[in-house]
């Protein structure tokens, strides 16, 4: 890999409640790369993400971000990373503007309204919905607001947990295009998912996690995408074994 490494898991081992959740996981994600971590339920995908955010402490090994150990540098790393949780539970009593503005204020990176509007356009949030409280939104619409928030953070690293969960097929395509465009602009994206085809569409590399162990890595050919069928078979095999 020629790019500078933005994320690196070095023999990462995590235990939760005395049970191993990640075991000796190592991988690296370069600058401007879209990396997907694929696995079934309980494979340790979200744990990996939360470890890079400093919300979970590794038992052994290290989670590195921007060349720094995450442990002890959480604040510095969080300032450079946007996180999109699996269930984008923004505040139901606020509208899209208010939600995004509040979270941007939390990050001390407020944006003018026209930039917010532009981000909503990019994620395809209908203009007539933006003034409505999120309590009237579908799951997909809420997800779009959360994605807009992640975009508006304008940070070099995006950590996405099941980002297309709840989105309709058209929105998924739009989202994938957005992620690809962001990567082309230099953003590094690590997403965890159990959607084999979605991962192949957007990621240049996919790591396959099984019961906390990285059992394989698939890389797209220079001018193409990862073979989804091959990945699917590997996923199914790892699941069955």
């Amino acid at each position: 890999m020629s790019q500078q490494q933005v994320l690196e898991a070095q023999s990462l081992t995590v235990q939760r409640g005395g049970r191993p959740v990640l075991h000796d996981v190592s991988f690296a994600v370069g600058e401007g790369e879209v990396f997907a971590l694929l696995g079934g339920n309980g494979a340790g995908k979200s744990t990996t993400l939360l470890t890079f955010l400093g919300l979970i402490e590794p038992h052994q090994g290290r989670a590195m971000a921007f060349g720094q150990d995450v442990q002890g540098n959480e604040d510095a790393i969080r300032r450079k990373a946007a996180y999109l949780p699996e269930t984008a539970s923004l505040y139901a009593h606020l509208n899209a503007w208010e939600n995004v503005s509040y979270f941007l204020e939390l990050a001390r990176s407020p944006r003018p309204r026209d930039e917010l509007s532009q981000a909503f356009d990019e994620v395809g949030l209908p203009a007539d919905a933006r003034d409505r409280r999120l309590e009237s939104y579908s799951k997909g619409m809420r997800q779009k607001v959360a994605i807009a928030l992640a975009l508006l953070r304008s940070v070099p690293l995006l950590l996405l947990d099941e980002p297309t969960s709840g989105l309709d097929p058209v929105a998924i395509d739009e989202f994938n295009a957005l992620i690809t465009a962001l990567a082309e602009r230099g953003s590094t994206v690590m997403m965890v998912t159990h959607d084999v085809y979605g991962a192949c569409q957007v990621a240049r590399r996919v790591g396959l996690l099984r019961r906390g162990e990285l059992v394989g890595t698939f890389e797209a050919p220079p001018e193409g995408m990862i073979d989804a069928d091959e990945l699917h078979r590997a996923f199914a095999r790892s699941h069955a074994s």
Binding site: L53, A82, Y83, S89, L90, H93, L106, A107, R153
Partner: protein, 420 residues
């Protein structure tokens, strides 16, 4: 500061916060209005009684042909006017007497004719502003803060907030402070309006604000520590309500009960009965049985102590005073007992911040036990002045003319009870 302003705005957007702040504002407003009405009623009653007593006394004075008649028939109103701050903490003004209609008779019985003004209020307490600050404020704060972090975890927002906020986990502390400040403002605004209406000085306002702020800081710390240690909202709420119950209800009530058991205090009724017996018995006793103990205490009147007629006013008022002497021990025990119980409650208040808050506020409002005892001292001093006025007229038989009548003492509240 920016984070605090942001969280204040955010808190105001939440319905639950709006509701609790509204409840706090309504309770505080109701308490302030009720307090102002109560002290205004008390002041109006004092004003009416002063007028009525003045008129009645003028008739008694004018029609009196001798000092004994005047001493017997003239009533004197004594009172402790409510302080400007009394509306905020009615304290003992609900349960202990703050006015008496006295005559030149034995004093102690007149003082304790009514032990308790409103016995039911001595049990339950009144919804005054001190109650709102000491008892309701922590309860509402618990409602506001118990689910702060747990609610965000339930909504799957906790991680996002921690990762996004530059304050990290301190975000929840800033949030708790913002909500606490909103609650404090909702409670204090009605008080400040009331204080301006009642003409409370800045030091008085300062003490109340200080007491409210101390109460808030204590309960905020309790809430933050509990929320940090307990993950589930309902468990957190139960833990905090348990702490509130112990500190705001069980400790003060248990302490009151314990103080009553530890410090035995004679009843006012017992004092009244003993004195009446002493006074009534005097009618049937030989005159020296009254005059000897009287003279023993007041040798100044010895040259005039012979009672030759079946009824003489000086003998009558001497046996009233001897009646007071007969209950001196009970009276001292009663006073000291009340003081001792109050001291115990004062010590206990260091374990119970709600009790401490209430005591700070009643102290500032001069509605505490100490203020009640100061008023009693003031009444005793006035009654002593009456005796000093009448005894020369009764014993030395000094001329009882208009100029002598004009010298009849009139009660005016002592400095610390001078109210507004």
């Amino acid at each position: 500061m920016t984070a605090l302003v942001r969280e204040l705005r955010f808190a105001l957007s939440e319905r639950a916060v709006q509701l609790i702040v509204l409840i706090a504002f309504a309770a505080s407003t109701a308490a302030v209005i009720a307090g102002i009405e109560a002290v205004n009623d008390q002041q109006a009653l004092i004003d009416r009684l002063v007028l009525a007593t003045d008129e009645e006394r003028a008739v008694a004075v004018e029609s009196a042909s001798d000092p004994g008649d005047m001493a017997y028939y003239a009533f004197h109103l004594t009172f402790a006017p409510p302080s400007a701050l009394a509306f905020s903490a009615l304290g003992t003004r609900d349960t202990l007497p703050w006015k008496h209609r006295l005559r030149m008779l034995a004093l102690e019985g007149q003082l304790y004719e009514s032990d308790v003004g409103n016995p039911e209020l001595s049990l339950s307490g009144r919804l005054d502003f001190a109650f709102v600050v000491a008892v309701l404020l922590p309860l509402l704060l618990i409602f506001l803060l118990h689910d702060g972090e747990a609610g965000e975890r339930r909504a799957a927002r906790h991680d996002l907030l921690r990762v996004t906020a530059t304050e990290g986990r301190n975000l929840f502390t800033v949030r708790a402070i913002a909500r606490s400040l909103l609650l404090l403002a909702a409670i204090l605004i009605p008080f400040l309006v009331g204080a301006v209406i009642q003409g409370v000085g800045l030091p008085g306002i300062g003490v109340v604000l200080g007491a409210a702020a101390l109460s808030l800081v204590f309960w905020l710390a309790v809430c933050l520590l509990t929320v940090r240690r307990v993950d589930a909202g309902p468990t957190c709420a139960i833990s905090l309500l348990g702490i509130w119950l112990v500190l705001a209800v069980l400790l003060p009530a248990g302490g009151k009960l314990a103080a009553r058991n530890v410090v035995e205090v004679p009843q006012g009724g017992e004092l009244l009965l003993t004195q009446r017996e002493a006074v009534n018995d005097a009618w049937d006793l030989p005159k020296p049985a009254t005059m000897d103990p009287f003279i023993e205490r007041h040798p100044r009147w010895a040259p005039y102590s012979t009672v030759s007629r079946p009824f003489e006013w000086k003998w009558y008022f001497a046996f009233q005073q001897v009646g007071d002497q007969a209950v001196e021990k009970i009276s001292t025990e009663l006073r000291e007992g009340i003081k001792q119980r109050d001291r115990l409650m004062g010590m206990l208040s260091f374990l119970s911040p709600p009790l401490l808050t209430e005591r700070l506020m009643t102290g500032a409002a001069q509605t505490d036990v100490a203020a009640f005892q100061r008023y009693e001292d003031c009444v005793r001093a006035f009654h002593g002045g009456l005796r000093s006025y009448y005894y020369p007229l009764l014993f030395e038989e000094r001329p009882f003319d208009d100029s002598a009548k004009r010298e009849l003492p009139k009660f005016s509240p002592c400095a610390q009870d001078s109210g507004r």
